[in-house]
């Protein structure tokens, strides 16, 4: 069993490692070009880079987790292995979380080396990247939660876009009906970013985001189990 488990981890690593290289290259390039040329203030470059990663990374990773197995026809083989589906699901999700972390970590290290305490203090830079990383993880859980049944990567990407659009409309609706409320911050991962200005809600936002992410992942795990039964 341990052998299969290790092979599963190895398989995921082999399949996903180019994504780490790709996203690290993109985020690093944006940060290095922006900070070296100093075309904009450091804070603008960092905000752009971190948001870029926070939005793109989960879509990119989420697309390839389950939909690619389906479209390439390897899901049947994977689910027929003598290992519980929730373990397969967990291995994939741990990989996804790690894949999201590495580009952020690599870029953060480069940013601190190039512009730490130059215009923005180190603590703020670290906090900004950490917040964007948390955002990306919660966004990933939304993509997996709503997109696990999709047959192709393109459709999973569309689900991710639909999620972002739904958040936007939610934000607009709350702004119209209840400008002083913070339901949007509680429900969507934008709460992490809004927390920078309103640290008093930090615990509520963090716990609600984690709660939502866990619920979405549990339901995705259950659906994944049923997918195996359907295959059978």
């Amino acid at each position: 069993m341990t052998g299969i488990f290790q092979k599963l981890i190895w398989k995921e690593w082999r399949e996903q490692r180019w994504k780490i290289a790709y996203m690290s290259f993109l985020m690093l390039s944006l940060a290095v070009i922006g900070l070296r040329t100093r075309m904009l203030p450091d804070i603008a470059v960092l905000a752009f880079d971190a948001f870029f990663g926070a939005f793109l990374l989960p879509i990119f990773v989420g697309m390839g987790l389950f939909a690619s197995e389906k479209s390439e026809g390897t899901l049947s083989m994977l689910t027929s292995l003598p290992i519980k589906p929730w373990k397969i699901f967990t291995v994939k999700m741990i990989h996804a979380v790690v894949i999201c972390a590495i580009p952020f970590a690599v870029t953060l290290a480069a940013v601190l080396f190039l512009a730490g305490d130059r215009e923005v203090d180190t603590a703020t830079i670290v906090r900004a990247y950490l917040i964007c990383y948390l955002f990306s993880i919660v966004f990933l859980s939304w993509i997996v939660g709503f997109g696990i049944g999709q047959p192709t990567e393109a459709r999973t990407a569309l689900v991710a876009l639909a999620v972002v659009l739904a958040w936007s409309f939610f934000a607009a609706a709350e702004d119209s009906f209840n400008p002083s409320g913070y339901l949007f911050a509680i429900v969507t991962p934008f709460g992490f970013i809004e927390n920078i200005d309103h640290p008093s809600h930090r615990l509520e936002v963090f716990s609600s985001q984690m709660g939502i992410a866990i619920v979405l992942l549990i339901q995705a795990s259950i659906r994944f189990t049923y997918m195996r039964k359907e295959k059978a």
Partner: protein
């Protein structure tokens, strides 16, 4: 049933979901937003205005993406399935099949992304005709053609690649190139939709002139893509690339575009010192530095304007004057020297603070009170504030000027200090106030021009450009008509006229004079020109052209000038240009070849005022105070 009907029916069946998604995204959502706005008590014209802005942003950000998804989706779904084999076995020509598919998809794009904008514009024009301008049509006119090219390119790529994800990634690459390559590569600037949308051509649309070069280029591009699509299908061209290679291509395009932009814009100037605002007097207040007046080498007075918000509505506005000393660690020592607040629900106040090194013990203020409802000026007055800390009564007397500026309630007002007098200009009326008695200023002259406009010949450049005679800046002189102020010689008249005129909101243009050199920043082309004074008499000054620096499309996009905060200073052969959200520095050491040597931008902050410090640095005021060192030449 004929073949065309069959094909149309097939396309309808295939594309109706895309149409539904487009209608929901670009029609239904704004419509719901408008209903919500009306429900929350917003007037219908405001609600329509907000929706138009929302649709504008949505189309610009999502329109291209929607066109790519649609084009790739309809092509790949068909060519990548057995359906294509079935249709190829039918007696239907390739051209017919292709054209029906292409134009049906095009119709979906236009109905979704373009038509809604025209409908909203029409509704807005009916609801608020006084606020509707032809320039508001810029987005639907120009961006539609970019959308067509993006759609056509994605359609062609779909035929070549035939794998949905791969085709979509490659189409996004192409879309980035279409949108951004003309921005970073100056020779392709005429294809750049952003600068057309953001500035300049608004004037031309107003004048009924459409940028046909751009439109023709886009249409030629679309026709070329359609032809290539036909050839690709006929000759069975295929691109077989790994998914990873597609993504790396996309990454490469992004990095190349960004690197080109970064190295073209060059370094943002480092802020030497950033000074936060003084402590707020009450919670919930917000403030911006509105005016900075230097009273010594490092001392000066800041005029703050701010307000207090309740439920996102400003109820109260405050004006405060703080004394500052830049040489001190604690820049703002002591409480404000003057505080004034007023009810901002029905009116707002604009303050022009004036000071002369000769009169360092007081600050003169020209106050304008506007009605928030009618947007008309209700009151103009001159007052002063004593700057001596020992004075118990800081606010001095008030001279009412309202009756002098009757019937010009909407014209901009400017004021300047010049040789013991204050000059206030509004519309065609110029008032001179003598400060011979500092405690009791009095009006000495009132000069009325024949008309408000036409001081500057180059304001008539639009008219010249429209006429049959094209503008030849090398030979056409620039003529400034002078204000006929009694008691001043020709040079003094020129200087006062320039001091007053340079503060007026002439579109996004700015100018200033040093000795005989006039520097003129032309807003509609974002170019900096230099002109030499050639002749001067009591009526007019004539300037001859020396040189010009034209901004690249990227510079025009990044350094957009937002008046009325704009301001220009010449100091040691450097021109500092405050564009409201960014500061640009030009070297005019050789006036024939001006060049940009630096810029300073913050993250979303606005700059309202700028003064030159004795040590050559610049003090910039907005949401904070910034001290900027001059860049090296």
């Amino acid at each position: 049933m004929n073949t065309l009907k069959v094909l149309l029916w097939k396309e309808w069946r295939q594309q109706r979901w895309f149409l539904l998604a487009g209608v929901i995204l670009f029609w239904l959502v704004p419509f719901i937003g408008m209903i919500v706005g009306l429900y929350t008590g917003e007037p219908i014209d405001r609600s329509l205005y907000h929706m138009r802005e929302f649709v504008c942003g949505l189309t610009l950000s999502m329109g291209g993406f929607f066109a790519i998804i649609l084009a790739v989706g309809i092509v790949c779904n068909e060519l990548n399935s057995d359906l294509s084999n079935f249709w190829q076995s039918r007696p239907i020509g390739l051209a017919q099949w292709l054209l029906v598919k292409y134009f049906f998809g095009l119709a979906v794009v236009i109905i979704s992304c373009v038509l809604c904008f025209f409908v909203l514009q029409k509704m807005f024009a009916i609801a608020a005709p006084s606020e509707f301008y032809n320039s508001d049509l810029l987005v639907p006119i120009y961006h539609s053609f970019t959308l067509l090219l993006v759609y056509s390119t994605a359609f062609f790529i779909g035929v070549l690649v035939r794998q949905t994800v791969n085709a979509a990634v490659l189409s996004v690459c192409a879309g980035l190139v279409i949108y951004f390559l003309p921005l970073v590569f100056p020779p392709l600037g005429f294809l750049n939709v952003f600068t057309i949308l953001l500035e300049g051509d608004a004037y031309k649309v107003k004048a009924g002139i459409v940028n046909l070069t751009f439109i023709y280029s886009m249409l030629v591009g679309c026709a070329g893509m359609l032809f290539l699509t036909f050839a690709g299908m006929k000759l069975n061209w295929r691109i077989r690339m790994e998914k990873q290679l597609m993504f790396w291509s996309l990454g490469g395009v992004v990095v190349i575009l960004l690197a080109s932009a970064g190295f073209q814009l060059n370094a943002n100037l480092t802020c030497e010192r950033e000074i936060p605002r003084p402590q707020k007097q009450q919670p919930g207040e917000y403030y911006v530095y509105y005016n900075v007046v230097m009273t010594g080498k490092t001392q000066g007075v800041l005029a703050f304007q701010g307000g207090k918000e309740t439920n996102n509505k400003v109820d109260e506005r405050n004006v405060r004057l703080y004394r500052f000393d830049l040489s001190s660690q604690n820049v703002f020592a002591g409480p404000p020297i003057c505080t004034d607040s007023y009810d901002a629900r029905e009116q707002y106040i604009h303050i022009n603070a004036l000071n002369s090194p000769k009169i360092s013990d007081r600050l003169y203020l020209v106050d304008e009170v506007y009605s928030k409802i009618t947007r008309k000026r209700k009151e103009v007055s001159l007052s002063y504030v004593l700057l001596n800390p020992q004075d118990k009564k800081p606010m001095g007397f008030k001279l009412d000027l309202t009756s002098k500026f009757a019937n010009v309630e909407r014209s901009s007002l400017t004021a300047c200090f010049y040789k013991d007098s204050i000059y206030v200009l509004c519309g065609p009326t110029l008032v001179r106030i003598s400060l011979a008695n500092r405690d009791k200023p009095e009006i000495t002259d009132i000069v009325r021009s024949k008309s408000e406009f036409g001081q500057w010949m180059f304001l008539e450049r639009y008219t010249i450009a429209k006429s049959t005679k094209p503008l030849d800046e090398n030979n056409d002189p620039l003529t400034l008509r002078l204000h006929q102020i009694p008691g001043l010689n020709d040079r003094e008249r020129l200087e006062v006229t320039l001091l007053l005129e340079e503060q007026r909101s002439w579109g996004r243009s700015m100018f200033t004079l040093k000795d005989d050199l006039l520097v003129y920043f032309e807003g509609e082309t974002s170019s900096l020109g230099t002109w030499r004074l050639s002749s001067l008499n009591s009526d007019q000054a004539v300037f001859l052209f020396i040189g010009r620096l034209r901004a690249t499309p990227l510079e025009r996009f990044m350094f957009l000038i937002s008046r009325p905060e704009g301001q220009m200073i010449i100091d040691h052969d450097r021109v500092w240009l405050n564009g409201g959200t960014n500061l640009m520095v030009y070297d005019i050491h050789d006036p024939a070849t001006p060049r940009r040597i630096g810029h300073f931008a913050t993250h979303g902050q606005r700059f309202f005022t700028m003064v030159s410090l004795p040590d050559g640095k610049i003090l910039l005021g907005g949401d904070k105070l910034y001290i900027i060192s001059p860049p090296k030449r």
